[in-house]
């Protein structure tokens, strides 16, 4: 029973991170019908940037204010990078009316540029993320051990998801995003500037990726230039499991996949967890291709 709750806590931690990253994939897909393959690399970049900022400001002291500086600084830089990605890699193709495949190739190209850029800047070797960015206390509740990092990651992932949910569902710009995801032309007829919507989703997605990247650093404590693929792929699978294009689906898919991975690691073996992830993916694609929450209300024409 202890293993169960312990793996649940571990799974919620990883799941929260997956969910934050998955939201970026799903929002971009929702509006642009494009898989932004460079999204995972923004996660890796965020971990490097976070590490770099921490090395500058926080080596001697730690505490909440340092953590906030690291988070806010990283978010700002990654959001800027995400906007540049959209402006350089995607918008020109859209304006030229290029076919969808071109955008996919551009996404892959952007991913390679980012990975090689990170390798040039920070080198090919693994870097260790500092452990003192959060207090290293742990709690034991009935034999289940929760570290302060886990607690922090679980709670703040949920908070950021809630904030995104409120933004998407309760604000005018959020409604415009949902409208553009359903029908870009009709959205334009409402006066919605679709380019502005797209920039907004890149800002939101990159901001969440930045937070995800810092959390990856805090939790796994390793940073390497091509780790974006690993986390990106898992988050992408999570987005598909939840129903790609569906925002609550990405949240649910992320958390479910994290918990699923943790249980496989706990009860089978951690070396099998990736294999099982793909078995899950294939199962979902066979039995529920639209994902768990991906079913749309039929539109009568």
């Amino acid at each position: 029973m202890n293993t169960f709750f312990q793996q649940l806590v571990n799974g919620l931690t990883i799941g929260g991170i997956y969910a934050l990253i998955a939201l970026g994939y799903t929002m971009v897909y929702g509006v642009m019908k494009l898989i932004n393959f460079a999204h995972g690399d923004l996660v890796a970049l965020a971990a490097y940037i976070g590490l770099t900022i921490f090395m500058k400001v926080g080596t001697s002291s730690s505490g909440l204010s340092i953590l906030l500086i690291v988070l806010i600084g990283t978010i700002m830089i990654i959001v800027f990078a995400g906007m540049m990605l959209e402006l350089i890699a995607y918008r020109p193709l859209r304006n030229a009316g290029a076919p969808r495949l071109s955008a996919v190739v551009s996404a892959l190209g952007a991913s390679m540029v980012l990975e090689n850029g990170m390798m040039l800047l920070w080198g090919p070797n693994l870097k260790i993320f500092p452990s003192n960015i959060l207090p290293s206390s742990t709690w034991s509740i009935g034999g289940v051990i929760i570290s302060s990092a886990q607690f922090f990651i679980i709670v703040s992932s949920l908070v950021f998801m809630l904030l995104l949910h409120l933004f998407i569902n309760k604000t005018k710009l959020g409604t415009a995003i949902r409208a553009a995801a359903i029908d870009q032309e009709a959205a334009q007829l409402m006066g919605i500037n679709v380019n502005r919507v797209i920039v907004t989703i890149f800002v939101l997605g990159s901001g969440l990726a930045a937070i995800g990247g810092i959390f990856v650093g805090i939790y796994y404590r390793e940073v390497y230039f091509n780790m974006g693929w690993l986390y990106g792929l898992n988050a992408f699978v999570a987005a598909i499991v939840g129903g790609i294009g569906n925002i609550p689906g990405a949240m649910l898919g992320g958390i479910l996949l994290g918990v699923f991975n943790a249980f496989i690691s706990g009860y089978v073996s951690s070396s099998w967890s990736e294999a099982f992830t793909f078995i899950l993916l294939i199962g979902i694609l066979i039995f529920r291709p639209t994902g768990i929450l991906g079913e749309r209300v039929a539109e009568k024409v």
């Binding site: 415009a176 949902r178 359903i182």
Partner: protein, 241 residues
Amino acid sequence: MDNDRLLIVEDVEVSYGNIQAVKGISFDVRKGEIVAILGANGAGKTTTLRAISGLHKIEKGSIRYKSFEITSVPAYKIVSIGISHAPEGRRIFGTLNVRENILLGAYTMQSIDDERLHWVYSLFPRLQERQNQLAGTLSGGEQQMLAIARALMSKPEMLLLDEPSLGLAPILVKTIFNVIKEINNAGVSVLLVEQNARLALQLADRAYVLEVGKIAISGSTKDLLSSTKVQEAYLGKKSNR
């Protein structure tokens, strides 16, 4: 008088790839008018409306609204100029609820005008009852009402309607056409694309008949209703020559 003319379309040509769908048409809509564009399937009616609202780039010609050249204005700016488009196939946002759809119609407004909202709901009381229902679950007729309601929220001076009667039961078509008349009486000029020529000719002041991308016949609806050619081709009447 030129400043009576709200919309002026001049020698407009539109193509899809190599296929020219609209082959140089000119027409205008004056303030307060209902103008109908009639024609068979594929005549280029929808393409014409899409060109006006900027959804499709035109190859040649010019489109002016009031004194603005709107030929290359991007689609999302058209509505704030005063032209609202209820497109073919309704294109409502199916996974948003009715109220969200209606409020999106006022996206360019600083705030929602309650008076306008009341007016729109008074035109379509059924929508008010169904405010919280997902738009995709509305009946076809209700979806058409929603498309028109949504288009009115930006307080347009000119309304483009693309086949509002398509697929509706005759009784509902009557209702929708009465509402169009009411909207027009409130001062909104209407450019109405229709295949239901008889009803459109009864409602509109003037009409243009499109045939494969060209204007074949035009004139006041009174004249068109009595023209043998129109009767034979579009109103299904046999002449007794």
